[in-house]
């Protein structure tokens, strides 16, 4: 009986996967393709300086010295929310780049391999973002509990799911510049600023 349930679950998930693909195909055929030149307007800038300062272990150390435990806890939670916003932007930008990369290639009647530089950079960034968002979500859910549960150190989030986030995002930017080289120079400059 358990085997039958397992087999039917697998078969049902396969059927759902097919329905999902068909729905995506239909949506793709119906919706207008995005214009690659508009990519920059959809990007949310990621403040690199802020990102580095949030992940800086020295900054965290300094906070530990200068604040009492209650204030430190509040400050750490504030920094976590800030970092969550930056990670949300990174994830958003990577999916925008994926969409516009598709649009760019749709004109040339060629599809793009999954192992292209930009694609792999996007996978890495999204993987990192998913891991960090999950961790931050759990950490922020932890109750204050009068300081009994220690607030985790944000610097440990530089690496999540074995991916170095800032490095992966930097790679994504370089790959995006290369992939979008066919844009006009001022648009490309705006793209780099937007990332």
């Amino acid at each position: 009986m358990y085997l039958s349930i397992a087999i039917w679950l697998i078969v049902a998930s396969s059927a759902l996967a097919f329905i999902y693909i068909l729905r995506r195909a239909y949506a793709r055929a119906r919706d207008p393709k995005p214009n690659p030149n508009d990519a920059v307007h959809y990007l949310y800038p990621v403040d690199w300086a802020l990102l580095e300062s949030l992940l800086d272990p020295a900054a965290d150390f300094a906070l530990r010295w200068s604040l009492d435990s209650c204030a430190l806890r509040a400050e750490r939670r504030r920094r976590m929310r800030l970092y969550r916003e930056l990670v949300r932007r990174m994830a958003h930008n990577s999916s925008v780049l994926a969409d516009f990369d598709d649009a760019l290639f749709a004109d040339s009647h060629f599809t793009h391999g999954p192992d292209s530089k930009l694609r792999q950079a996007i996978i890495k960034v999204r993987f990192y973002c998913a891991g960090v968002r999950l961790k931050l979500g759990v950490w922020l859910l932890l109750p204050d509990a009068f300081g009994l549960v220690p607030t985790p150190d944000l610097a440990s989030l530089r690496k999540a799911v074995e991916v170095d986030g800032p490095k992966a995002y930097d790679e994504l930017r370089v790959a995006a510049v290369e992939a979008f080289a066919r844009l006009r120079p001022n648009e490309l400059e705006a793209l780099t600023r937007g990332l």
Binding site: V11, S95, T111
Partner: protein, 242 residues
């Protein structure tokens, strides 16, 4: 009539082979290309031997084992391509072995409850074949989940290959389950549904491979230098403002 039915998927596989050769996809997908080539050869061999029971029996089981092995290798190829960027994450290397272990486990469990009608080595082929079907469905479902989660485009070779295998394996798994419930009365319908499902599978592959896939054209070195310098300048400004 049944002979003609056999030839439909073979003809479609030949079209797919031509498309793969035309777009040089055989270089990027050597295991899947081997599977397609093997599929044509196996169909031709089975067709040639179908009036000779002894050679047919031998060829049938030999090619069945070949299909299972190459089908599994094609799945490995898909995962390797999709997860290439995450190769430095140690546990991504365990995904394929874990899927194979799950498939083998489920297949052995099934064999224990509904033992195959054959013995010895042939029973191993049946168990292996069903295990590969489980793996193919799991890879397909996993890939669709990956695409949904990471917001990727659906029209790519890995998804096309996985969707084809996923469809056929789902139908085949259902049929094999039903066959063990109903018995041999189901044989004719089994082969008919199987041929239709396989033909649809090859049509899916043809649909995906009809659009050539290529790498990003290399950027002109001079232009690349200019834009990398631009990016560096921008990053320097950011660092200074820190």
């Amino acid at each position: 009539m049944s002979s003609l039915l056999w030839l439909i998927p073979t003809g479609l596989l030949a079209v797919l082979l031509g498309l793969m050769l035309r777009s040089s996809a055989h270089r990027a997908w050597p295991w899947f290309f081997s599977y397609v080539t093997f599929g044509i050869s196996a169909d031709v061999a089975r067709f040639a031997a179908h009036n000779h029971p002894h050679p047919y029996y031998f060829i049938y089981w030999l090619t069945d084992a070949g299909y299972a092995i190459l089908g599994a290798l094609a799945m490995y190829e898909i995962l390797r391509k999709v997860l290439r960027g995450l190769a430095d994450i140690w546990w991504t290397h365990l995904i394929f072995p874990a899927l194979v272990a799950t498939g083998v486990g489920l297949s052995l469990w099934r064999a224990q409850l509904a033992p195959p009608r054959v013995q010895g080595l042939l029973a191993c082929v049946v168990v292996g074949e069903i295990a590969v079907r489980f793996v193919q469905i799991l890879v397909f479902v996993g890939l669709v989940g990956f695409i949904a989660l990471f917001g990727f485009r659906w029209r790519q070779y890995p998804l096309g290959i996985a969707a084809g295998f996923g469809l056929y394996s789902t139908v085949a798994l259902l049929i094999t389950t039903k066959l063990s419930d109903i018995g041999t009365r189901f044989t004719f319908l089994w082969s008919l549904i199987s041929v239709v499902a396989y033909s649809v599978t090859v049509l899916i592959w043809i649909g995906f491979f009809s659009v050539p896939e290529k790498e990003q054209p290399p950027l002109d070195a001079k232009v690349a230098k200019h834009y990398i310098a631009l990016l560096e300048r921008y990053l320097n400004v950011l660092r200074r403002t820190r």
